[in-house]
Amino acid sequence: MGDEVEVRVHGMWASTYSKRVELALKIKGIPYEYVEEDLMNKSQALLEYNPIHKKVPVLVHNGKPIVESLVILEYIDEVWPDHAPRLLPRDPVDRARVRFWSGFLQNQLLESVLKLVMSSGEEQEKALDELHEKMTIMEQEMGDIIPKDISSIQSKSLGLLDIQVICTLGAYKAHEQVLGVKILDPHKHSLIYAWVNAMMDLPMIKEITPPHDNVVNFIQMIFKINPSA
């Protein structure tokens, strides 16, 4: 298998970082070949393409590797500027805001989700409160960025922040089932709830979302959680 294929993604089905890249390519209508990596037995290609971190995802474009999901997404946006939609807005202030919230979702929010999954009892309650606080901050401060008219949401208009939200919160139902807690409550965080669910309902997103049970099993396995009775 040579590099005649123009675009290839090395990923892993349960990795949300890997999904970000696939989503970006699908949204922009860029065809690609997908290589599923066994993270317990990484391919020689992966190790050569990403010698520093040895992680997925890797985008290989015309034989050249690009790594780190957010770096890849900006690359995709810059290399295929004529493939609508633009993942990042044109105005520098808006771009800075998107980058800021993208970082917040990837770092702060994900950190709280991880704490939640890895803790129990009182610690877990604290972690859940922390996660909810962050979602409240998002609703308060992201204001105009969160779509109000969810009927207008379509795959052709998704951007970087939408991708980040799908990949950070899209699997919330699976997490709720595993942990027996309410992560996304329509009464507490109506804007985020509506946003996430509107996007998860899009045919393109449904196509790329792994089956619910697979995700449940994966979370239980990776965090060694015993299935609740």
């Binding site: 050249k64 690009i66 770096v71 900006e74 690359y75 520098p92 202030v93 800075a96 800021f100 917040f104």
Partner: protein, 221 residues
């Protein structure tokens, strides 16, 4: 007074992250108002402009905030694009630069902090890891004058502020970085010849005294 290009930087002089922004602004020849924050008594403007993290640096451009040093530097590069480009124009090269800036972000601050806040075996490990980290960066630099090639750029801006901490690391850790990482020192001295860097990086001994005061307050010996 019309505010058609008002630039205010909320910062704290020892911050390596703040230094990145100061260097970028100087490279572009942007006039700005520098405001040093008392981090134990943050200004109303800082809290208003960065309500989420309440951290410096924050660039306030025509009353609109931009937060997070790497994001601010990219913003500066995009807005003042007519002079001294910091990121290359080719998308692959840009991705390369962003990767290395991200790598520097992930490891350098924690790596340096570990050295001056630890003792004994922990410090030995911290020093070893930091030297390895610098070796990876040196490999990336190769024989080029700057990380970006012939011109001073985004990755150089991301890393050079940490050079001002080398005296502290060497004193606290009792080692000489130049012995194991000659290339980085050469690169750093080359960067220091640039006006933007020379006027931004604080005197290494002044920074050392600041850290001693700070450690006393923390109760760390």
């Amino acid at each position: 007074m019309a505010n058609n290009n008002e630039v205010i930087l909320l910062d704290f002089w020892p911050s390596s992250f703040g230094m990145r922004v100061r260097i970028a602004l100087h490279e572009k020849g942007v006039e700005f108002e520098y405001r040093d924050e008392d981090l134990r008594n943050k200004s109303e403007l800082l809290v208003k402009m960065n309500p989420i993290h309440k951290k410096i640096p924050v660039l306030v451009h025509n009353n609109k905030p931009v937060c997070e040093s790497s994001i601010i530097v990219q913003y500066i590069d995009e807005v003042w694009s007519d002079k001294s480009p910091l990121l290359p124009s080719d998308p692959y090269q840009r991705a390369h630069a962003r990767f290395w800036a991200d790598f520097i972000d992930k490891k350098t601050y924690d790596g340096t902090k570990k050295i001056w806040t630890s003792k004994g075996e922990d410090q030995v490990v911290a020093k070893k890891e930091f030297i390895e980290h610098l070796k990876v960066l040196e490999e990336q630099l190769g024989d080029k004058p700057y990380f970006g090639g012939d011109t001073f750029g985004y990755v150089d801006v991301s890393l050079i502020p940490f050079y001002s901490w080398f005296y502290i690391l060497e004193t606290e850790g009792n080692f000489k970085i130049e012995e194991s990482n000659t290339k980085i020192i050469e690169w750093a001295k080359r960067c220091m010849q640039r006006e933007s860097v020379a006027k931004t990086l604080p005197d290494q001994k002044k920074l050392y005294e600041f850290v001693q005061e700070y450690k006393k307050k923390l109760g760390v010996e």
